[in-house]
Symmetry: C2
Subunit: 344 residues, 2 copies
């Protein structure tokens, strides 16, 4: 029995689940998840009613044959497995961030946007602080729909924060907000990842933060640009990667590229980010997670979309794998595993 | 200012620390830690008294110049950043494990032994369960001074557990205990990692668990042997790796080898294991962490030695990097970064 089938059955052994909840109980990509769920329905092991799934008698019998027991999640209730807590000063950061970003621009599908929940932006910044990568550092952010730059402004710890962002609305929002809050060391500028960095941005940062698109070409390009910005050995980088739209084979290709560039991976924290995707958008924009679901699955009743957080560390001089101008079109954003991304 | 210097100063800004506590507040290897601490003492930024270290006025002034603030750890108080909690059924596993292993053999330096605290053996097993790698699986353990096999026996979930272990005392202990507790699917046998597996052990397991020695040659050999035991694509492996005796450059070499063998890294959980090292042994066996410390540091007052937990996943057919018999002597156990390992 495959791992995904096992994981789905043991999740259902401990109670009925919605489609969106079930996604959180398995460890495979969304295409595989949909395929396996269809199989379970077709084989009569699982039934569905009112947007929920449950095991049939046949399913329960097979669970017993496979020695599966009802799954009790051991994931920490306090930090949700994210390793850190927003307590003390970090709780204050979180409150301030919620307050100042109330009027943030809505995510738009044009640039594969989708925000992490606001607490996760602060958890991100807190984690980076834990690892000693904030204080007095020059930080580069490539793509900032999560508004990490403003979270960094609240901490008051970095020396300089530069945002490069393709969405004009966000560039204006960040600059205006930074000005009104007196964050003098934070600025955003319009930037398209297809272009190399201008000279003044090269080799000027200690840390990069990005949330790349998850095609292999796309992520290679994002990371290569980030590398151009870093000072070199001892620099670090942070980015999210899902397993929902990136299979383990894609992860493998990405990890190979990271090592080729001169990075070692120091941390991978599972489900560090939860995304607050707009339910209306999700159901109407033709995302394959909905259109190819085996039954009508209803609106999400939980944060189903997560990404794992990578920290990488430069052990040597860095080498971008892509330099110069690159013209990328739809394939930058969209591949076979893109199930929560709009086709263009 | 280097990251390690920054991390040490901000830790001391929030209060005096012992040598052993300070180790937990930095992210570098022990050789670098000792070097940096010596520098801080020699430059008059840090002073020491009664086995504790504190910032001098000069140190405090430099902290201000560098915009450092007293460090408040955001690490989760509940799970200590290990992502999971021993609650419900997992708490029962932990209690049973404590009970049945009370008479465990003492760690001996001959084989670079050193136990993780008993809760961490159960956390390990719980984590593996979270990832769907226990139920009805065939599990291979290469080196089992942590007695993970008996913890697996308590869960009752795996199909088969085979321990390969070089220490005769442990082989006998595990077999005797398994027999007396009725763990019929658990067995241990004497094995030296210098020898390839006998035919019946090859391609017979879904999961490996090991806690390898941390020289590059040593870990390559351990992982290659584990690979011989795995069934191939979709198999997984779990092992600990410290940053205390393995620099990031060594991590890089190890990650390259993992990818070469056909694994992708799915998780790296920082400080997942804490080791319960014998204070008497530590102070008397000539470990460099003591002998090369800048001052007399006293006995450990905290679990200072930790390792991060790796989960790896086979995305393709696996390829061991070493096959056949290998004769390895001291260099299997000991390299320049071995600071809590006995020279032989």
């Amino acid at each position: 029995m495959t791992r995904i089938r096992r994981n789905l059955i043991r999740a259902l052994l401990s109670g009925d689940k919605s489609y969106w909840e079930l996604i959180r109980f398995q460890d495979d990509s969304l295409p595989k998840f949909e395929e396996e769920l269809s199989n379970l329905l077709n084989e009569g092991l699982v039934s569905t009613h009112d947007h929920h799934f449950s095991l049939t008698d046949k399913g329960i019998a097979i669970a017993a044959e496979e020695h599966l027991s009802p799954y009790v999640s051991p994931v920490c209730d306090a930090c949700h497995g994210k390793t850190i807590l927003l307590k003390g000063p970090y709780e204050n950061w979180s409150k301030q961030f919620q307050e100042i970003t109330k009027d943030r621009p809505k995510a738009i599908k044009d640039y594969d946007q989708g925000y992490v929940i606001t607490e996760d932006t602060i958890r991100r910044v807190t984690l980076i602080h834990r690892f000693g990568d904030l204080e007095n550092k020059d930080i580069l952010i490539v793509g900032d729909d999560d508004l990490t730059s403003l979270a960094l402004g609240i901490t008051g710890l970095p020396r300089k924060v530069k945002v490069l962002e393709v969405d004009k609305r966000l560039v204006e929002y960040i600059n205006k907000k930074a000005e009104s809050l007196g964050f003098k060391n934070i600025s955003a500028e319009l930037y398209d990842v297809q272009n190399p960095f201008r000279e003044e941005l090269r080799r000027s940062f200690d840390v990069f933060i990005t949330d790349p698109v998850e095609t292999i070409d796309g992520i290679t390009l994002f990371l290569s640009r980030c590398v151009e910005g870093l000072r070199g050995e001892d620099s670090t980088g942070y980015f999210g990667l899902t397993h929902l739209e990136s299979s383990r084979k894609k992860w493998y290709a990405i990890q190979k590229r990271l090592l080729e560039m001169g990075f070692v991976i120091t941390d991978i924290i599972r489900d560090f980010h939860e995304y607050d995707l707009d339910a209306e958008d999700l159901l109407t924009q033709g995302f394959r997670v909905v259109t190819e679901a085996p039954v009508n699955v209803g609106a999400p009743d939980t944060y189903f979309y997560t990404s794992d957080y990578y920290r990488v560390y430069a052990v040597q001089e860095l080498k971008p794998l892509i330099t110069g101008t690159v013209v990328l079109s739809d394939e930058l954003y969209y591949d076979d595993e893109a199930f929560v991304t709009a086709e263009r």
